[in-house]
């Protein structure tokens, strides 16, 4: 490498055919540049980016021992990589290049030729001023650990896991609840094709459990993550099930014998069905291993269960139940991460005027799914008004469906459209029509959005099946009289008539919200949220599954509401993005990263707070025997934006190639009038 201390600068002014030369007096600029301090060579050429142009630079580097190169031509956004490559080929560090943009910023925009020439001179002079202080930078690569951590085992996590595992890479699939499956497992049929949700999902659930490359950790939570792209370390808490995972055969005798069997509302059934303290969330759960709910189990919460002790222990043949079991911490190393933590449905507490809490025949869309599911608490019959034992009840005769509950509604803070409600309500209306051919069905909507493949056709079909669509957003839902009649107060906005529609079943098309505990993941990964509260992708158009943290990708509804096909598509995209890193096995680290001068750092941590990438931390430093805290940049996480430098009071942290000492000379040149 030819990088002597004393600068020897070559300045190359490009004509760009006539693009530059017809406006700027190029020979005058070349002449001007030749007199600037440190400039050894100053030349003009027709097309610097052409092979002969690049060769000109390479030859000068070889013959004139240049150690800095300035190309005055087009925008660096265009040809910086070209010239960096050229000077690297000539044996010079590629970061000894500076460009002066005299085409886009001068010749193409300036009317007066003399003024254009003067401005070009200034820009070249500023480039020389900066070039004197350029530094050689090293482009590093780090190895990528060939494994992926996927958080959340809904359809997004499952699909991503299968794709990565099938490609031959290790996957750790972490799920918070006792079973994989997520929200999709709760659904009855899927729109618009009316496939049975469980039928298409369960084979995949079984696959993730059996795949040799997938290590499935259900009932587990990510506690800590550190490191950077290619080299993350994660700590995962495997919560105690109080059931020996290996011994449990999933026979279910324990649950039948549990003293609380059928007395605890089932989360999977949206609390309209029941389970015991030892339970399998649903029959097709994967893994088919029982779990004890430590808060409800009498033995665990009260220390005593019946006179004879826990019935489950007595019932369990293999002796799998172990009340002494403790949470287990697992540490893993991974190269990539996919966040697929899904969504929560809109909490009806935020919209009390719809009377959901008071009326058990006013139910959410997800409750409806469990109600009509053949594996649900009613065996698939839409029976309402059952007693505590789950008996009695009636079949509704007048059913109302309400759109946009908790979506497109600023009053509850959700301005966005949840994208799935129009269609799932259409599907649910169809299911009611199917199960109760005599029922009167009315759907209250704001706008109908049937934009997907087959959606409009399906919507048409539902309407043809005798479902009435009324355009209007109900203001209130309340009980009338002693029977189960509820009134939907609404204005038909197409005719302008106020209505008080009486129904005996109301289904609320609740929207999708970010997970209530989204902060935990944000804090772990330093991810950002978009204004809707979902995770923010790196670019809304071009990097929809990436995040600002390299090596961390998003899949499914945690990034925003989606239907199943979109979720699967995004999961596959996230898998492919993670696979790119793992298949290549190495990742380039940004060379223009920030660097700390620990002797000058006051350890205030402003840079730590400002860094959007969590790339900076405070570490202990021995300063002449005294221990002080100073900033430390993890170069693999730093993207070189330089926000830290502007926040630093003492100038102790600086982005390479854009240091204060490199920018100030540019200001000095450009600030002084010609």
């Amino acid at each position: 490498m030819v990088e002597s201390y004393r600068p020897k600068i070559g300045v190359y002014v490009c004509d760009c055919g006539i693009n530059i030369a017809s406006v700027i007096d190029v020979p005058a600029v070349v002449e001007f540049a030749s007199k600037l301090p440190g400039v050894a060579v100053s030349r003009e050429y027709t097309y610097m980016c052409s092979d002969p142009g690049q060769n000109l630079i390479k030859e000068d580097i070889a013959n004139e021992k240049l150690n800095r190169v300035i190309v005055a031509s087009c925008s660096p956004r265009m040809h910086e990589p070209t010239f960096r490559k050229a000077i690297r080929e000539a044996g010079l560090n590629p970061y000894f290049l500076e460009m002066a943009n005299i085409r886009e910023q001068v010749s193409w925009v300036t009317v007066d030729h003399a003024e254009a020439t003067e401005k070009a001179k200034k820009l070249v002079e500023a480039a020389v001023a900066k070039a004197l202080l350029l530094e050689a930078l090293e482009e590093k690569e780090v190895d990528v650990i060939p494994s992926c951590l996927i958080i959340g085992a809904g359809i997004a996590g499952i699909q991503a896991a299968l794709d990565i595992a099938d490609a031959g890479f290790k996957v750790y699939l972490v799920e918070k609840t006792p079973s994989v499956g997520g929200h999709m497992a709760q659904l009855d049929k899927t729109f618009p094709t009316l496939d049975c949700s469980a039928c298409i999902l369960t084979p995949k659930m079984v696959d993730v459990a059996n795949h040799p490359n997938i290590e499935l950790m259900t009932y587990s939570q990510l506690e800590e993550i550190s490191g950077y792209v290619g080299n993350f370390k994660a700590k995962i808490r495997k919560k105690a099930r109080y059931v020996d995972f290996d011994k449990c055969t999933g026979c279910g005798v324990c649950a039948e014998n549990c003293r609380l069997a059928g007395r605890i509302p089932s989360e999977f059934d949206e609390l309209i069905g029941n389970r015991g303290a030892i339970y399998l969330p649903f029959p097709q759960a994967v893994p088919a291993k029982y779990t004890i709910d430590p808060e409800r189990c009498l033995q665990l919460s009260k220390g005593k269960c019946g006179k004879e002790g826990p019935a489950c222990v007595a019932a369990c043949g293999p002796g799998a139940i172990n009340f002494e079991q403790e949470d287990e911490m697992v540490e893993i190393e991974i190269g990539t991460v996919i966040v697929a933590t899904g969504f929560d449905v809109f909490p009806m507490e935020k919209k009390p005027e719809y009377g959901w809490a008071e009326n058990d025949n006013v139910i959410t869309g997800l409750e409806f799914e469990r109600l009509v599911s053949s594996s649900g608490p009613t065996g698939g019959k839409p029976v309402l008004g059952r007693d505590k034992k789950g008996e009695g009840g009636y079949l509704p005769e007048k059913v109302a469906f309400i759109h946009c509950v908790g979506s497109r509604d600023k009053s509850v803070g959700n301005e966005y459209c949840s994208r799935v409600c129009c269609m799932y309500l259409a599907k649910q209306a169809h299911l009611i029509r199917d199960k109760l051919p005599e029922a009167e069905i009315t759907v209250f909507y704001m706008d109908m959005r049937a934009f997907g493949k087959g959606f409009e056709e399906f919507y048409d079909r539902v309407r043809r099946e005798g479902v009435r669509y009324v355009r209007g957003n109900p203001s209130e839902i309340y009980r009338k009289g002693d029977d189960h009649t509820v009134v939907v107060k609404v204005e038909d906005t197409l005719t302008g008539t106020p209505m008080e529609y009486e129904a005996d079943m109301v289904v609320l098309g609740v929207g999708l919200e970010p997970r209530k505990d989204i902060r935990e993941i944000i804090d772990l990964f330093k991810l950002s949220q978009s204004t809707d509260g979902f995770f923010l992708e790196a670019h809304p158009k071009l990097r929809p599954v990436d995040t600002a943290s390299d090596g961390v990708f998003l899949a499914g509804c945690c990034q925003g509401p989606k239907d199943i096909p979109d979720t699967v598509a995004q999961a596959k995209a996230a898998a492919s993005s993670a696979l790119i890193l793992m298949a290549y096995g190495k990742v380039k680290v940004e060379a223009m990263v920030s660097v700390v001068s620990p002797d000058e750092c006051r350890g205030c941590g402003f840079c730590v707070e400002v860094c959007p990438f969590g790339a900076i931390e405070l570490v202990e430093e021995n300063r002449m025997g005294n221990i002080v805290q100073v900033a430390f940049v993890n170069e693999a996480l730093c993207k070189g934006c330089g926000s830290c430098a502007a926040a630093c009071l003492s100038g102790a942290i600086q982005p390479r190639s854009f240091k204060d000492e490199q920018i100030l000379p540019q200001i000095a040149v450009l600030g002084v009038k010609p």
């Binding site: 265009m78 943009n101 193409w108 950002s528 400002v610 934006c641 450009l670």
Partner: protein, 143 residues
């Protein structure tokens, strides 16, 4: 004094939006005044408000900081920090008696070539109105 005062403006443009926007103004052959000289930085969040002070001291009659629109920052948050910093620095300079028209900021996306050209014209117009920056310019000092 017969010649009209031509202000000199130093501009700091973020690489991803505003610099690209300026490039687009070029590729679209929009004409704008040559008074504005651009320094490229990776992010408007990189621009230390002291740069601005330095530019005025060196002899600039005005400065321009331009970044991505809020929410569009390539580095997610840089422009939010920049906005806070320059809002405040401008107030501080105003308190010292510097014409606030010398401190300009804009959001210019990569697709807003025309906006960039407009921003240049407006910045120059404001600096022209403010007149030559001679309050604490270094060159004023007689050695």
């Amino acid at each position: 004094m017969s010649e009209e005062f031509e202000p000199n403006i130093v501009a700091f443009l973020c690489n991803w939006c505003s610099y690209a926007g300026a490039d687009l103004a070029g590729t679209s052959r929009m004409r704008y005044l040559p008074n504005v000289k651009i320094i490229r930085v990776m992010c408007s969040g990189r621009v230390n408000p002291l740069f601005l002070l330095n530019a005025l001291q060196q002899g600039a009659d005005g400065v321009l900081i331009s970044g991505c629109h809020p929410g569009d920052c390539h580095y997610l948050e840089g422009n939010f920090y920049a906005r806070r910093r320059f809002m405040l620095m401008r107030k501080l300079l105003e308190h010292v008696g510097v014409d606030p028209g010398r401190v300009n900021m804009s959001w210019v996306s990569a697709s807003e070539g025309a906006k960039f050209a407009d921003v240049v014209e407006e910045t120059v117009a404001k600096a022209k109105e403010a007149g030559p920056m001679d309050q604490f310019r270094r060159r004023q000092i007689n050695w």
